[in-house]
């Protein structure tokens, strides 16, 4: 027999959301205890110290500029991926012959591990921001091409035929039939492209960097400064999560109309 006041509390405990928070809190506790008593402070610092020293990370000379630079690289790489991906996707996808000819080649290039040519990107584009943007684009534009081509392909032929038989021009068909039908797959492509751009830019940053966050992760690692390293990683992870969430909610929002 439980008292009536205890019922909502028990219900709360049973909700998966609360349990999830509990799991996360438990992990942080283990980390805190391990870092405080067992592990050499040269290698791991407790989460409490990491979070209280987040301010120190931002006060490190150059870190705010590095974060801005990395964000700028991500934004430019993402915009370029979308622009190039849409152009190539439409060029290849709208013509059945071009699709059959070039899709296998695009798939082949997509399947190769681009990380092997990262040194080439540095060689061609220098060690500045350009090489990071280029490498991010090389990861980001393939998903856009894929989803645009798939989106164009999935339009029911009857819609195209009826639009044409009612006398729609080529542009009108594009504007009123093809574009609206591409939107859901386009935003799926945007989400995948964001994952790719994040991976590409961060890989290139970690490989070689003179002013971006890659420089500071290397610096903190070499100075055995886990507190600031963890702080920087936490900030970057938060940035990645926010960017992913933005494109994910855009996908949900713009995919609504098509759920018939």
């Amino acid at each position: 027999m439980t008292s009536p006041a205890a019922a909502p509390i028990r219900q709360l405990l049973r909700s998966p959301f609360v349990a999830r928070i509990g799991v996360i809190a438990l992990l942080f506790c283990i980390w805190e205890i391990a870092a405080r008593w067992w592990i050499d402070p040269m290698f791991l610092s407790p989460p409490s110290r990491v979070f209280t020293s987040l301010g120190a990370v931002f006060e490190t000379r150059g870190v705010p500029a590095a974060l801005r630079l990395t964000f700028f690289e991500l934004a430019v790489a993402f915009a370029l991926s979308v622009a190039i991906g849409v152009v190539i996707g439409l060029a290849v996808g709208l013509q059945p012959f071009a699709r059959r000819s070039f899709m296998p080649i695009i798939l082949l290039i997509y399947a190769t591990p681009q990380i092997t040519i990262l040194p080439l990107f540095i060689l061609y584009f220098g060690i500045g921001a350009a090489s990071k943007i280029a490498f991010g684009v090389s990861h980001g534009f393939f998903p856009i091409v894929m989803t645009i081509v798939a989106g164009v392909q999935n339009i029911k032929p009857i819609l195209l035929t009826s639009a044409r038989s009612m006398g729609a021009s080529r542009w009108q068909i594009l504007r009123h039939v093809i574009f609206p039908h591409m939107i859901p797959s386009f935003f799926t492509g945007m989400r995948l492209a964001m994952t790719g751009v994040l991976l590409g830019v961060l890989l290139a940053e970690l490989y070689v960097s003179t002013a971006g966050i890659g420089y500071f992760t290397t610096l903190f690692t070499q100075n055995f400064d886990p507190t600031r390293l963890l702080g920087l990683i936490a900030v970057l992870a938060a940035m990645a999560i926010v960017l992913n969430e933005i494109v994910r909610s855009a996908e949900v929002y713009f995919g609504r109309w098509h759920t018939d």
């Binding site: 049973r14 998966p16 349990a19 999830r20 799991v23 996360i24 290698f43 791991l44 012959f97 059959r100 000819s101 070039f102 296998p104 080649i105 399947a111 190769t112 591990p113 990380i115 092997t116 040519i117 990262l118 040194p119 080439l120 540095i122 060689l123 061609y124 994952t195 994040l198 991976l199 961060l202 890989l203 970690l206 490989y207 992760t217 290397t218 903190f220 690692t221 055995f224 886990p226 390293l229 963890l230 990683i233 970057l236 992870a237 990645a240 999560i241 992913n244």
Partner: protein, 256 residues
């Protein structure tokens, strides 16, 4: 009759376009290095790359690096596969656990885990250990998530039917749960294998002492471009072979 002919003609035409495209690319590459005097430091002569590739394969100098990379891959994949399947199975046992852990894993999976590479280098050093740890971490999530999806979505009617016919726990697992979940787990294993390979070559490129990724960076820093291109071709070929093998195993497993 005519349409059948056209249908047969079309794939041939697109094949021709593909071959022509690749030939044009190769010819442009060749002309760029010989006629238009692009610096060999930026783009080496394709014939020299081919010669170096043949040299690498013939002398077997790739063996040491290949062994390092494949050992790292095997260990990382063995760890992530065993931990991922075990964790996925345990989570999938109750609907409650699925709802607690699945969003958590999906959220972590969405973060680019390559960010933790500096931390792993700090913990495990520059040697193979940090690559194994990173590869295992990155490939753990797709494997665990697909195991949860596989075991979690078994048709309840099948489970109830088997139970009512008196199947023991072991029999239920062997004849109902495992066959239903196996194809989805195989897909997760294939995805995990691909990302483990990528992240191991990637972390070798960024910070390491040996391995195929390290070899490419080493040649790039020494400005031995022809040999570096040859190694890139070699690594791409190895990755293609490994991924094809994984896909074949997955297709075989899905039929089971």
């Amino acid at each position: 009759m005519k349409s059948a002919q056209r249908k047969r003609g079309k794939p041939l035409a697109s094949r021709a376009v593909q071959v022509a495209f690749l030939i044009v690319l190769a010819v442009l590459w060749y002309l760029a290095t010989t006629r238009w005097k692009v610096s060999p430091l930026l783009l080496p002569n394709p014939l020299r790359v081919l010669g170096d590739f043949w040299d690498i394969v013939k002398t077997g100098e790739f063996l040491g690096d290949l062994r390092v990379t494949l050992t790292e891959l095997a260990l990382a994949f063995a760890m992530s596969a065993s931990c991922g399947i075990a964790a996925g199975y345990l989570i999938s046992r109750t609907q409650y656990c699925i709802r607690v852990f699945e969003p958590l894993f999906s959220a972590i999976y969405a973060v680019p885990i390559i960010l933790f590479l500096p931390l792993y280098v700090l913990f495990f050093g520059l040697g193979p250990a940090s690559k194994i740890a990173l590869g295992a971490t990155i490939s753990f999530f797709p494997i665990a998530l697909s195991t949860v999806a596989g075991f979690g979505n078994v048709d309840k009617v099948l489970v109830t039917a088997a139970r009512s016919m008196g199947a023991s726990d072991l029999k239920l697992f062997r004849y109902v749960l495992l066959p239903a979940a196996f194809p989805i787990i195989m897909t997760g294993l294939r995805m995990g294998f691909t990302v483990a390979l990528l992240s191991i070559i990637g972390s070798e490129t960024i910070a390491s002492l040996a391995g195929l990724g390290h070899r490419i960076v080493h040649l790039a820093e020494g400005m031995e471009m022809a040999r570096m291109f040859a190694y890139i071709v070699f690594v791409v070929a190895i990755a293609a072979i490994l991924n094809t093998l994984a896909s074949m195993l997955e297709a075989r497993g899905r039929r089971f």
